[in-house]
């Protein structure tokens, strides 16, 4: 039944694409589709609380080449599929005001969602790759048509980075397929095949980097801030919320599972690093601190969130590379948590503020007393900000704590670095919060009454926050709170899956 998430999304996308303009309401249709998919994912999650590996569909597709249409779900997939459902519903609620070419907008949006569902459910690598690349083109068009700041540049950069990353992935997959005898693309069979160690040592970094580009691994992250800033609100919510997770999920599910020995120690040491695992963990830790530092000095509100995504995704990668059950579970939990919180942050900045104030520059935002004009936006941002900086009670805290514990077992120095990143995270979140919402005093009193004359009309110009926005923001906040208060609801299925056969070789540190 879970397969219908894909069919419904893609079907509705095709329907909207060919629907005559002016007939029906595309946003309602899109919302119904997204809600139906969310319901399907929740039912699947409910029916499988233990996170067992369950096959959804398994049919021969191109038998001559050993390619199957194989959809399945285990705990990790289920968590991410639920995240996709939530992000899709929230994204549509926050694009309720899209009027220009609305049919196409929602068609592309749903096509992207359909591709994402497909990636999380595929257990045949060819199918996985098809869905993975399917997501590139809708992203490009969403940004280049409905985007804002430097949209053509941001869109092209995003598309090319994604495509180059998937080219690296395809090289690794093709080589693995041919080396294993060219008769199957099934993930489990290939993972059991046991490739020769020298092969794994070059194929692992290739595929891992290919996926990590989309996960925002430093120094391949540069598409992320520009892409997020250029994208329309719903697209940046999806980009940060689920698309970056595609990359992280690929790293965990494909690169690491397929080539566990690629993580093992080299016979030599280079600049203090002695395995690909340490190399990538170091890059992830650098990304955490670097992203946070850059976020600290931005003037554009959306860039702050964009760089904070790079920082938070560093935790995801660091956690999975720790190869410790807690760290890896924290990594998946962080994917979920960041998906919810980054979506909320982008919604506040892109939809609630930018669509009304038409600026995201901290200097110009001073002119609007946002705290008084948009109290709901202020409230949402404060909640999301505190949650994402790791306040206990919200999902971010549990996730990052587990990642840190896992990382402490594997790389103590990097865990400390990540801890520094959290502190800087507090700094940039509070600083952005202050500059955008609570910064009313610094403007020196001008001679004459100019200040009140310019500020007061602005206050009245801003439309109040609409109902769909409130529902969307409320949904995301409640989910984050529930997961923060009762993380076992997600952790149990995740941990169960991580102890399954696929991940066995990994938990032994990649050593056979």
């Amino acid at each position: 039944m879970l397969a219908w998430t894909i069919y419904l999304s893609l079907g509705a996308a095709a329907g909207l694409m060919f629907l005559p303009r002016g007939r029906g309401s595309p946003r309602v249709l899109a919302l119904m589709t997204a809600l139906a998919c969310l319901a399907l994912t929740l039912i699947a999650f409910w029916q499988n609380p233990g996170g067992e590996m369950r096959t959804v569909v398994r049919l021969p597709w191109i038998p001559t080449l050993g390619i199957e249409y194989h959809l399945a779900a285990d705990g990790v997939s289920l968590v991410l599929v639920v995240l996709t459902g939530l992000a899709a519903v929230a994204g549509i609620l926050f694009s309720w005001n899209v009027e220009e070419r609305a049919n196409e907008f929602f068609a592309l949006f749903l096509a992207l969602i359909g591709g994402v569902y497909g990636v999380f459910l595929s257990f045949d690598l060819f199918l996985f790759f098809v869905f993975y690349e399917l997501a590139i083109i809708p992203k490009y068009f969403l940004i280049v048509i409905w985007g804002s700041t430097r949209k053509e540049y941001g869109a092209m950069k995003l598309a090319l980075y994604s495509f180059a990353g998937s080219a690296l992935v395809l090289i690794g997959l093709l080589a693995a397929y041919v080396t294993a005898g060219a008769h199957t693309f099934d993930l489990a069979s290939l993972a059991q095949g046991g490739f020769a160690r020298p092969f794994q040592l070059w194929a692992f970094p290739l595929v891992f980097v290919g996926f990590a580009i989309l996960a925002g691994l430093w120094p391949f992250h540069t598409w992320a801030p520009t892409g997020h800033v250029a994208a329309p609100t719903a697209a940046s919510m999806l980009l940060a919320g689920v698309v970056m997770k595609l990359g992280a999920y690929g790293c965990l599910r494909v690169a690491m599972v397929l080539f566990p020995e690629g993580l093992s120690e080299w016979s030599f040491t280079l600049a203090g690093l002695s395995s690909w695992r340490e190399v990538f963990a170091t890059m992830a830790a650098v990304g955490i601190v670097y992203g946070a530092l850059v976020a600290l000095v931005q003037r554009d509100f959306k860039f702050v969130i964009g760089y904070s995504s790079v920082s938070h995704m560093g935790f995801v990668l660091l956690g999975m590379l720790s190869l410790h059950p807690l760290g890896m579970a924290g990594s998946v939990l962080q994917m979920f948590s960041h998906g919810i919180l980054a979506g909320l942050l982008f919604a506040v900045v892109g939809r609630m503020i930018y669509d009304r104030a038409h600026t995201r520059d901290f200097g110009e935002l001073q002119g609007f007393p946002l705290r008084r004009a948009l109290p709901f936006a202020t409230f949402s941002f404060v909640v999301a900000g505190f949650a994402s900086m790791g306040m206990p009670g919200f999902s971010g805290f549990v996730a990052e704590l587990q990642v840190l514990i896992g990382a402490w077992h594997a790389f103590p120095a990097l865990a400390l670095t990540a801890g520094v990143g959290i502190v800087i995270g507090v700094a940039y979140t509070l600083s952005a919060m202050h500059k955008a919402f609570f910064n009313e005093s610094p403007r020196p009193p001008q001679p004459g009454a100019g200040l009140t004359l310019t500020a007061e009309p602005a206050l009245t110009q801003l439309q109040p926050i609409s109902l769909p926005e409130k529902i969307g923001a409320g949904l995301l906040m409640i989910v984050s709170l529930v997961v923060g208060l009762y993380p076992r609801i997600l952790l149990d299925p995740i941990l169960h899956s991580l102890h399954g056969p696929l991940f066995q070789a990994l938990l032994k540190g990649g050593n056979p």
Binding site: V144, L160, F163, A164, L168
Partner: protein, 498 residues
Amino acid sequence: MSTASYLELLHWSLPEMALVLTALVVLGADLVGLREAAPRHRFLAGALISTLGAGVAMVLLLLQTGEANWMNGIFVSDSLIRITQVSLLVLGMFTFLISSQSDFTRHPPEYFCLLLLALTGLLFMVCTENFLVIFVSLELASMCLYVLAAFNKGDPRSTEAGLKYFLFGGLSTAFTLFGISLMYGISGHLDLRQISAALQAARPDPLMVPAMVMLLVGFGFKVAFVPFHLWAPETYQGAPAPSAAMIASGSKLASFFVLAKVLLMGLSAGGGLDFPNLNSGWVPVIALAAAASMILGNLAALAQTSVRRLLAFSAIAHGGYVLLGILAQNGLGVGAMLYYLLVYGLTIIGAFAVIARVERATGSDDFHAFAGLRHRSPLLSFCMAVFLLSLAGIPPLAGFFGKFYLFAAALNTGTGRLEWLWLVILALLTSAVSLYYYLRVLKQIYARPTGGQTPCGMEISLESLAIVALAGAVVLLGCAPEWLVDRLVQAAPFLKLH
């Protein structure tokens, strides 16, 4: 030599006969009934008759079963060859259909007659293993294509296209003929299998080097791999759109097939010769040509502002990918190559049909002519998006599966050593570059405002139907490639390699 049974030849070459007869019917019908009709109707009638003729030929072809080998390889037929011929006929039919709305000449029947004769040449080219017949049929096809490229007499660019194509093509013919004569001198045979056997039996001959170089130069011009690609941009830009589509699709498919046959059958690499290993000397040369084509084609396409020129350079890059299928040196590689070329042909015919339509409305194929096309014709824009994204290799379109199949075949040489990994890496990375220029065109179509230009809607016509059918075929072949792949895999052993 036993006496030849011409009746048998007649039986096996019925499809080609049908095409030649259709060419006469097109001329005759126009002479008898349509001389006074409007050019539009004459084009339509020509396209219909030609498509019908190609359809008859296809039916005759599909009715054939079994294998034939007439007079030591002068005429051969087996299921791999028949798949290739059916592909050629499909590409030809779509070329006829997209010509149906053209207006570039006052002589439509001659135009279709030449298209049909070119198609006949291509069909004969793939069903022989004899160098002389290859040469003669190659010339039949080429002569027609030279004229077709220059058919728009009113446009100097078309004349330039035809002249340039003719001069380069003529030169390449001279090289090919010289190579064939040297090869005959060395081995004493014209038949590919006998040549191969003779070469393996004899001591390595230094004359092999010039012979092989001549042959590679000759075919290199035909399929336009670097450094023999210079004619392509101007020919693609100046020729009437359907002619360019024929040159880019059918002619390319047949030429690559023959190139693969000559290299793999006649100059088979596994000749058991040690260093200097003259027999396998073409492998590194082809590998380098493939690498150069991918790099130069993709990089040069970045700088183009004319969509036709962009497609010309991308065709050079695609030629580079296709060479990977030959480098695999087995039947599966050739099968993957055929799949890729068929899909590529369908895509490029569709793209040229869209270009033709935009050109008729705006008089230009520059980027700005495509600006805001989406507002003028959503369906046409959607089809163009399908074609371009398929060329870039985005799933679930056929271009993606073609690339995947081709690269998997190139890696799977059976030795388990992944010899061509470096070339596959290069191919995938350069195809990441190619996404940039395809998206540039799509950006014009979808994201730019329309410049108040003349509308180019999609009225119900044969051409529109062909465009939509092509887009549908590209999607379908990408989502359900199994039936074709299965056939190709089953037919692959017919390429009896040593």
